[in-house]
């Protein structure tokens, strides 16, 4: 299991408290109604706080699902 996943799941739980934990791995902008533009920025900032690096906001449009964000963080976060 990707060691980043539990920490990223916690970030999702913070931003989307109504989203059941079991559904987080499959979560995407298309399936989570609360995932609007404000939530997207909030999610980025929460992830930045958790992993201690600055995400590229130009890629925000592509970071539209848990799995894509997991890939991105695994690739970009320091010591990930």
């Amino acid at each position: 299991m990707n060691p980043i996943a539990p920490r990223l799941t916690a970030c999702f739980q913070t931003v989307f408290p109504d989203l059941p934990a079991a559904e987080i791995p499959a979560a995407s902008q298309a399936t989570v109604a609360a995932w609007d533009s404000v939530a997207a920025i909030t999610l980025v900032n929460v992830i930045e706080e958790e992993f201690g690096f600055e995400m590229d906001l130009d890629q925000l449009a592509d970071l539209d699902s848990f799995s894509r964000i997991l890939d991105y963080v695994s690739r970009e976060a320091p010591a990930a």
Binding site: C11, T14, V15, P17, V38, I41, T42, N45, V46, E49, E50, E54, L57
Partner: protein, 574 residues
């Protein structure tokens, strides 16, 4: 506070609690500023559900003029709110040719904002944070030189602050600078991509500062201080009254500063007492020194003996008639602090640092924060005197029979039934614990709106006797419907106990409204035992929920009252 923590605080807020509605009037994208403000308010108002509404992007005056149903307003102002060219998101020119127009526009906008703030109903508290971000590099000077136009902007901003300071609470810019250093405030990436110009730490700091102003902590009421190596340098029992010091020449100025602060606090209505292990005559001789910066008459009571300090604190609290959690105890001995803290849970114990100047400065600031209050009232000025007189009252009462004493006290109570705009009434309701009907606190807006209910009544009682005035000491609030009165709030200052003022309040209500019964919205709280005892004496059993008191029942148990009753509408207050 981190963003994650703020979000969790908001998720854990009590969803069914009564609302505390705040309008966040910011010209930029509120985003995390909104989250941090809500979270900091929620921390302070644990029994409320904080909600934040936001206004129009880029138009602060319009947002301020379209407020509805709010309990408070928060305005984090930024330079770009005054003219978009003073920010980074606009396309307008920055050159010297544009500067006169930018200045004129900014000044006009400050006037519009001030006017909009002044139109907000006085009952709604307003918290304002002046611009916190550096001005963009639009001036012809290098960054290390202040430009003439920049100084002109700052002058106008100072005028604006002075004007709105009469109506609004303003964030202390210096203190904010300590929490959020200027270099770490602007997040250009966030500004350009999302519209929020603040870094997360700065948004948290501004949110915290605004929340402090909208929901300030209750100020402490009393300070008990040690003497040796605290109020002065040296052990007076060993070196003598003439050799303890608190001045620059003796390298003991820290003690002098502490004395000056205590004198200042006493002048603002803070009770100052002394708990010292010393021989009383030696202490009294020291207080005869004319160079003391805290005069002896500002201290009451003074406990100087060799018994445990927890006992001294116990007696001082009883004389003041306030709870330990309203009091700060300062001593240079960690052991004495621990002994007092163990005996009086809730008391705030602070160590006086004898030779650590940085810690001494921190202590002075901490004391100012603990005792700071937004405004001073008439009652603040007479509090010490009324406590002292109350002590005299109790001493004389102990000698004479209570009945004879009350008869000879020459007491007068003034009842004011039209105190709509008296801030003292709400202050009393929100800070009184012991004689409090149910412990419910109100915002200014809620308090004002209650007067608009059908049959609303509000009564403020002021008291004086031959020992002096106590000022306004009791508030009753509710409504009347036919021959029934409904009392939703009733508080009385602990300074006013033992004078049958509470009996006179009810007697006056029964008579004025020709009422046959009063229904009290009573709820027991951890601290309102004195009011519960009063009701027990009247009703024959302790209440544990709202209850009704019939006039016949009240009159059967009413002791004799000796007060002269004055109607404020026909006379001046006692």
């Amino acid at each position: 506070m981190k963003l994650t923590e703020a979000l969790r605080i908001l998720q854990q807020a009590p969803k069914t609690a009564s609302l505390f509605r705040v309008a966040l009037a910011c010209g930029f994208t509120p985003l995390h500023m909104q989250t941090f403000l809500a979270a900091h308010l929620q921390q302070r108002l644990a029994d409320r559900l904080v909600t934040i509404s936001t206004g129009l992007y880029g138009d602060v005056p319009v947002t301020l003029t379209s407020l509805a149903n709010v309990d408070g307003v928060a305005l984090p102002l930024e330079w770009a709110d005054l003219d978009p060219r003073l920010g980074y998101r606009g396309a307008g020119d920055w050159g010297p040719a544009a500067l006169p127009d930018i200045l004129a526009g900014a000044m006009a906008m400050l006037d519009r904002i001030a006017a909009a703030l002044e139109r907000i109903p006085p009952a709604i508290p307003i918290a304002v944070c002046r611009p916190t971000l550096p001005l963009p590099p639009i001036f012809h000077t290098a960054g290390w030189q202040a430009a003439e136009a920049e100084l002109e902007l700052e002058r106008k901003l100072a005028e604006f602050a002075s004007r709105i300071g009469r109506r609004c609470s303003l964030v202390n810019a210096t203190r904010l600078g300590e929490d959020s250093p200027p270099a770490g405030r602007l997040d250009l990436r966030s500004d350009l991509l999302t519209g929020l110009p603040y870094t997360l730490p700065h948004a948290a700091a501004v949110g915290r500062a605004l929340a402090h102003l909208l929901a300030p902590p209750a100020p402490k009421k009393g300070l008990i201080t040690d003497l040796d190596d605290t109020l002065w340098h040296g052990l007076v029992g060993e070196v003598g009254a003439e050799n303890v010091s608190w001045d620059l020449a003796s390298h003991s100025q820290l003690h002098g500063l502490y004395q000056k602060l205590l004198a200042s606090l006493a002048g603002e209505g803070v009770l100052v007492g002394v708990a010292s292990k010393n021989d009383a005559p030696v202490v009294e001789r020291t207080f005869e020194r004319e160079d003391l910066l805290l005069p002896r008459d500002r201290i009451f009571p003074l406990e100087a003996h060799w018994s445990a300090k927890s006992g001294s604190v116990e007696r001082i609290l009883r004389t003041w008639n306030i709870a330990a959690d309203s009091v700060v105890f300062v001593d240079d001995s960690a052991m004495e602090l621990a002994e007092v803290a163990a005996a009086h849970p809730g008391i705030e114990c602070l160590l006086f640092p004898k030779s650590d100047y940085a810690a001494g400065y921190a202590l002075l600031r901490r004391l100012r924060d603990l005792f700071g209050k937004p405004r001073l009232s008439e009652e603040d000025a007479i509090r010490l005197e009324s406590i002292r007189q109350g002590s005299g009252f109790q001493a004389v009462e102990g000698e004479a029979s209570a009945e004879t004493f009350l008869e000879q006290a020459e007491a007068a109570i003034t009842f004011d039934f039209s105190p709509a705009s008296d801030p003292r009434a709400l202050e009393l309701v929100n800070k009184t614990n012991q004689f409090n009907l149910n412990g419910i606190r109100y915002t200014e807006a809620e308090w004002k709106s209650r007067l608009e209910l059908p049959g609303a009544l509000r009564m403020v009682a002021g008291y004086r006797d031959k020992f002096g005035p106590l000022g306004k000491i009791a508030v009753l609030e509710g409504r009347h419907e036919g021959e029934t009165l409904f009392i939703d709030a009733w508080v009385m200052s602990c300074r006013a106990f033992s004078r049958r003022i509470e009996h006179q309040c009810l007697q006056t209500l029964f008579e004025r409204y020709a009422a046959k019964e009063i229904r009290f919205a009573f709820q027991p709280t951890p601290k309102n035992g004195p009011l519960r005892d009063f009701f027990t004496a009247l009703a024959g059993q302790p209440p544990d929920a709202p209850f009704a008191l019939e006039r016949t029942q009240f009159e059967e148990r009413l002791p004799r009252l000796y007060h002269r009753v004055i109607d404020a509408s026909t006379s001046s207050n006692p």
